[in-house]
């Protein structure tokens, strides 16, 4: 039997081009769970910083931040945005994004407990780049990883999430798309079959 929070999607009909994996209500429940797990491990967040990966991790970060502050009375929550464009390992190798987004980390991460926040964990290469990029801001005590969707079995590097919304087994030609009210008018996670 599959684990309860795992979706198996190997047998999608070829005609289906888009399937909803998570709706708004499910995302809300997951966000609450992730927020509670963070509180469980980080107490008052005194020496914790949540760092969202640009551009898409920022939506998840902002939601978690809002929830932690408004629903769970967390104060003094340190958050930052990290752009990894200049640290990518596919520079000069095809169609990688070239235009960088802003990095906004107004504190030194020395001796802090950093939680990297991103929406989809796929090959792990972005997180590898983020780990290198973080070194420019000091030596953190620990670094953890929080993702909304974990495309397990797709990893190129030995990187796993510490906090995970939903595990998804998607094929190589499928794409996981996360929509937020802020950028697409609705909270949803879709599995899209791309033409190839």
């Amino acid at each position: 039997m599959p684990e309860s929070n795992t979706l198996y999607l190997y047998a999608l009909p070829a005609s289906m081009s888009q399937k909803i994996l998570l709706n708004a209500a499910q995302i809300d429940i997951i966000l609450h769970r992730l927020a509670c797990q963070l509180i469980e491990n980080h107490n008052d967040f005194k020496s914790t910083a949540l760092i969202g990966i640009q551009p898409r991790g920022t939506y998840l970060l902002n939601r978690l931040k809002k929830m932690l502050v408004e629903n769970y009375d967390v104060s003094n929550l340190k958050t930052g945005l990290l752009d990894i464009t200049f640290y990518r390992d596919d520079f000069r190798r095809g169609d990688q994004p070239l235009r960088a987004n802003s990095t906004e980390i107004n504190f030194v991460v020395e001796n802090m407990n950093v939680v990297i926040v991103d929406d989809v964990l796929y090959t792990g290469r972005s997180i590898r780049a983020a780990l290198t990029a973080l070194q420019s801001f000091g030596r953190p005590n620990t670094i953890e990883l929080l993702t909304l969707v974990d495309r397990r079995f797709s990893r190129h590097l030995p990187i796993q999430p510490d906090y995970n919304g939903r595990q998804v087994d998607a094929l190589g030609n499928q794409k996981v798309k996360v929509s937020w009210v802020e950028n697409a008018g609705e909270d949803a996670v879709y599995l899209i079959k791309t033409e190839d």
Partner: protein, 311 residues
Amino acid sequence: MDQLSVDHLLGIQQLTPQDIQLIHTTADQFKEVINRPIKKVPSLRDITIANLFFENSTRTKLSFELAEKRLSADVVNFSAAQSSVKKGETLIDTVNNILAMKVDIVVMRHPNPGAGVFLSKHINARIVNAGDGAHEHPTQALLDSYSIKERLGSLEGKKVVIVGDILHSRVALSNIYCLQKLGAQVMVCGPATLIPRHIKDLGVLVELDLKKALQWCDVANMLRVQNERMDISYFPSVREYVQQYGVTRKLLDSLDKEIVIMHPGPINRGVEITSEVADSSQAIILNQVENGVAIRMAVLYLIASKIQHHD
């Protein structure tokens, strides 16, 4: 994907307004990088850059070298004073010798206008022009326009006057192209002998009276009098030049608005501008220097991105 429309940075003339915007937005992020505790990114770690300076330069060379090192590129330096150029070697031979050592990008300053264009047609490397004679100095114009944008928000509709030795200045020509492409109005001001004859054809205004020019503008870019390029006397004496074209505190106070003062360096204090003006809050001269590194990082990063990786 956002990319430059050119493979080499030979001059501003060949760039589109979108290219300039892309360089500026990329420089925004590099400016953040160079203000971090660790000011270095690994982007160009497998790129080798040769800095070929066939003409003296201190700050441009320093700025390029810092930019290259902060991008983790390997850097080799070459200056004509210690080289075989003096022994009669041609430009192509000199550069090909360096390229045989597997160099990807050549940053070149040369006394002859068009040296970069010539080289780009004959060698297999990307060229970044760091000044070619009295022709162009593209990275200076990019950092000047970036610095104005940083201070005033935008260049659209802004009025910029370039004051001084327009005739011998590559900074002036590159600035004219760049500012116009970004929607600014440009005026040149200086002694009639130092204003090129057909400059109005570029769509710039010409004004010989400094006070009128300053009253018109939002930004004044003060150029250095390039004595080393002057084969004859273009004005009677430095003293007379200062009286007519030197910017003083008193002159700025007599205007009914506050204008931004720029200078590409090196400053002849007391000639183009007085120390009081150079050190005032209206001057953004040191911002220009800081932005220079970020702009050059952006240019090298974007040029390097077009060199396809070979497995």
